[in-house]
Each structure stands twice: as structure tokens, then as C-alpha cells.
Assembly symmetry: C2
Homo-oligomer: 252 residues x 2
DNA sequence: CGCAATATTGACCACTCTCAATGAGGGTGG
DNA sequence: CCACCCTCATTGAGAGTGGTCAATATTGCG
């Protein structure tokens, strides 16, 4: 968040690519030449603005996307105009993995604020991964991680009450900002209360009330989109606390 | 699928393998030789019994598993003895994809009834996929499908009420049985009411009441574990109906 | 400046959970 | 083979969390 200033398209392009490389390669031991091959298939896109779509449900699947700056939400639209928010994607995060199976997107992706996004043509990536076992392995890992994340989200929605969900959500954002070198305590929510509620399976009003309550309890300070987490530890205890569920299944 | 009768271990082994091959290769155009290479890394396991674990949370990740006969549940245990059921796995379905990332399982898998399960050592599979692009592609697809499925589950938990969840659950089972050649109308639930409720984020009592109500409404007939779906169409309409949610987010 | 979208707050209500009691199977041991 | 026990399932009554509806800020944008 600090001193990064996007000056020209060329800068975006360079910054964008290196960011994507980090996401795709971090734990791999790629030699420089492979790195370069990978780099060459990553395309920058022009800066996108609030409301722009990366893709819509039903679009043919061409590319994976990596957020360089800004943020993106993915959501599943329903016939009647409603939607289920599936995720919020911050810098460094990959979008579109759920589209590989039927070669068409089954959710839509919309940018929440002015964002720089890299595109990676999947066919190229796949081809490249044939001759780069470490890239193939990394792809397996990225796909697998997505599954794990969805599973913990299932647990959140299945077992946790409203306050636990919101606390977990804030801690998730906090951790992801931290990992990317931003402040884990002080950040801006690029999504609306409505979208937060939708994502967490809660009504807007519930989200709003909880923000107020958390603030009263000294857990955080929130004003509009700006939020400061004052007590991460206590926030964590909110998540874990009432997981004292009676929903235990006896083994046989 | 029809006349397959498992008589001996040797038969199990053969049936088991071919089943796994179907799962792994169905949409691929594998030549016989590749098919054979793939076949050779698939291992049968001895028949497992109700309550046996395929793996537990924290176990080192070695194998993927494919259900040949029977059924398996995966679940995320929590410290306090509770758990979140993540899925029920029927014949032909793959288990363990979420473990690739950190090479250790982050959920447990327990068989619900006497079951035949195939093991596929992931390291072998991965190695094989290096020289078999179509296998690699199929792996990407399988992983991607898992993500899609989890996402639609997120929508179910986030937006749908109890009756919609149970109806969707039953229809999911129905469809999966049908695809495997079993009756989509008449089957046995190998999981308890408790486990169904846990999976759907509902209390046991709610599940029980809903079964009763669905029965009163003529949607189905249920006795203990045996269930007959009498009106798939009406069941579908139960799922779709009250998705007339007001939780719509205006585009900007 | 005014309208529209977003947030907040309150009152009320409903869906589902919790608690509790009863009933029905299924397995084990006498 | 039956009795007993334990788990699982069902049903009822009451309570609580969170949703719905509605009114009122507040903000942002044209």
C-alpha cells in the first residue's frame, strides 16, 4: 500500500508480471530460463475500473487472472438477479481455477476498485507445464489450496454464528494483507456491507450491527470503508469461542 | 455397472481398477498403452468396514482414493470433538485432492459402510502426468471440478433455508446414483441424520422434521435409511423456489 | 444541489436450534 | 432366543439468533 505508484503502462506491465511470477512460482525452484518462459506468457491487462468484469458466468474460459493491485470479487449470479459472493481476491491471488473443468466460467468476476490484473492464457500455461514438472506441481498445489480454502469456508458457514463469521472474515483479510506486506491492522474494505453479508451468508443489517458492536467492545474502529483492528487476539478468540458445538458425531 | 459382482479379492482388484480408470480417464483419449501405465499404479486396498479411516487430519499425504463400492465421508474435526462434514463420496468419486498443497491431509475420511477403495499413490500419478499430457489435463479438470462443487455448496449454505438444503442434498445423491447406473429414485442413505444435518449446517431434529414433512407432502417415502424419491420435479422446485432472495447487489 | 446508493438503527417476527422425552432398531451377552 | 442396552430417530415445546421491514442518516455522484 505504501509507496507503490503506478506511473505508466510499462510499469504496470513489469510490476504485474513479477507479481504473477511470485504467485505462480514462489515455492518452486525454477531456473532462470524456465522463469523467463513463464514470464513470456503472462499478459498485462489495461487497468480496470470499479464495476468492470474480468469475465461473466458462461464466458468461454481462456485465462487465469492474478490480481496485481486492487481487488476483485467473484460471485455466482442466480436467475432472479440475486447472487452469491464466492470470494474477494486481493493482490497476488489467483482467479478462475473453477473454470477449467468445463472450459467455461461458472461464476462472474467483477473488480471492486481500480485494479491491475494479469492474464495468463491457460492453454499456454498448461502446455508449459507439460515440459516443466515444477510448474505442473505448483498448479496442482494452487488448485488444491483453493479446495482447502473453500472447505474451511464451508465450515465457517456450516458451524459459526454471525459474529464468528465476521471476525473470521476480518482476520482473513488481515492475514492476507500482512502476507503481502500491507498493514494487518489498518486497511480499507473495498467491498460493501451488502457484499460482506452476502459472502458470509448474513443480512446487511446484521453485518452493520456487528461492526457497531465490535467497535463498542473495543475490538476495532470502523468508519465507512476504513477499518482498524485494535485487538487481533481478542478477535481470534471470538472466532474460536463458541465453536463449543454440540454437533458431535459419535464414532462407531 | 450392472452385473458386477464382487466375489473374490482378485475380482475386487480388477473391478476396482477399472472403476478408477473410468474416473481418471473418462473424457480423455488415452491410448491403450498409457491406459495400462496408469492402471499399473492403481492399488486395490482390502475391503474397509464401517468406521475405518482412510486417513486422518494431519496424516502425511500419500495417496488419492477412489471409492469403488460403498461410501465415505470426509470431515474436518475440531479441537473440542466436534466436526464439520465436508462431503459424502459415492462409487467413482475421488478423495484427497485437498491434501496436495501441504502434503498433509487437512481433513479425515471415514467409511460409512463396508467399502472397496482404490489407492493411487499421488507421487506416481504426478510423475506419470508429466509424460501424459492428457492425464495432466484430466487432473486439472478433476481439481477444478472439486472447486466448482465446493462453490455450489457455499451457495447452498449461504443462501438456502433448511428445506432447500435437504432437497438439494437428496437431488445431488439422486443424480450421482443415476450417473453411476443406480436408481435415482430409490436408494439407501449410508449416513446418519446427524451427519446429514452436520453437512448441511442443520440440527438433527430439523433434518428429521423435514423428512417427515416431505413425506407428508408426498415428495418422498423414507423409512430409516431407505429412501424413495416420489417426485423429482417437485423436489427441484423446492430448491429453486425460495431463492427469490432480496439479497441482490446493485451493480455500479 | 438533489437523487440514488449505502449504512445505520429499531421493532418485530420466523426459522431453526436447544432441551427433553419417547420410541425404534440393532447388537451383545446371558 | 430373548432381554437389555446403546445409539439413532422422531416429536414437542420453548427460546434465541438473525432475517425482514421500515425509517432515518450519510455519502457519493451526476
Amino acid at each position: 500500500m505504501s509507496d507503490r505508484k503506478v506511473i505508466s503502462f510499462e510499469n504496470i506491465k513489469i510490476a504485474c508480471k513479477s507479481c504473477s511470477l511470485v504467485t505462480l512460482c514462489l515455492p518452486m525452484g525454477l531456473d532462470p530460463e524456465d522463469m523467463d518462459r513463464l514470464d513470456r506468457i503472462i499478459k498485462r491487462s489495461r487497468p480496470l475500473h470499479r464495476g468492470d468484469h474480468l469475465f461473466r458466468e458462461g464466458d468461454a474460459f481462456q485465462c487465469l487472472y492474478i490480481v496485481k493491485t486492487g481487488s476483485v470479487k467473484t460471485y455466482a449470479p442466480s436467475e432472479d438477479g440475486g447472487e452469491q459472493v464466492l470470494g474477494f481476491h486481493l493482490p497476488g491471488e489467483l482467479i478462475g481455477l473453477d473454470a477449467i473443468e468445463n472450459a467455461s466460467h461458472n461464476c462472474s468476476a467483477k473488480v471492486l476498485e481500480t485494479s491491475a490484473i494479469c492474464e495468463i492464457p491457460f492453454s499456454h500455461l498448461e502446455e508449459l507445464s507439460i515440459s516443466m514438472p515444477s510448474l505442473q506441481h505448483q498448479m496442482y498445489r494452487l488448485l488444491s489450496r483453493e479446495i482447502s480454502q473453500d472447505e474451511s469456508m464451508l465450515t465457517l458457514l456450516g458451524k459459526n454464528n454471525a459474529e464468528e463469521r465476521l471476525a473470521a472474515f476480518l482476520l482473513s483479510l488481515s492475514g492476507r494483507f500482512k502476507r503481502r506486506g500491507f498493514s494487518p491492522y489498518d486497511f480499507y474494505l473495498s467491498m460493501s456491507r451488502h457484499e460482506i453479508g452476502n459472502y458470509l451468508g448474513l443480512a446487511v443489517e446484521t453485518v452493520s450491527r456487528l461492526f457497531t458492536r465490535f467497535q463498542e467492545e473495543g475490538l476495532l474502529e470502523v468508519e465507512r470503508k476504513h477499518i482498524q483492528l485494535l485487538d487481533l487476539q481478542r478477535l481470534e478468540s471470538v472466532v474460536k469461542r463458541s465453536s463449543s458445538d454440540t454437533n458431535q458425531i459419535q464414532s462407531t
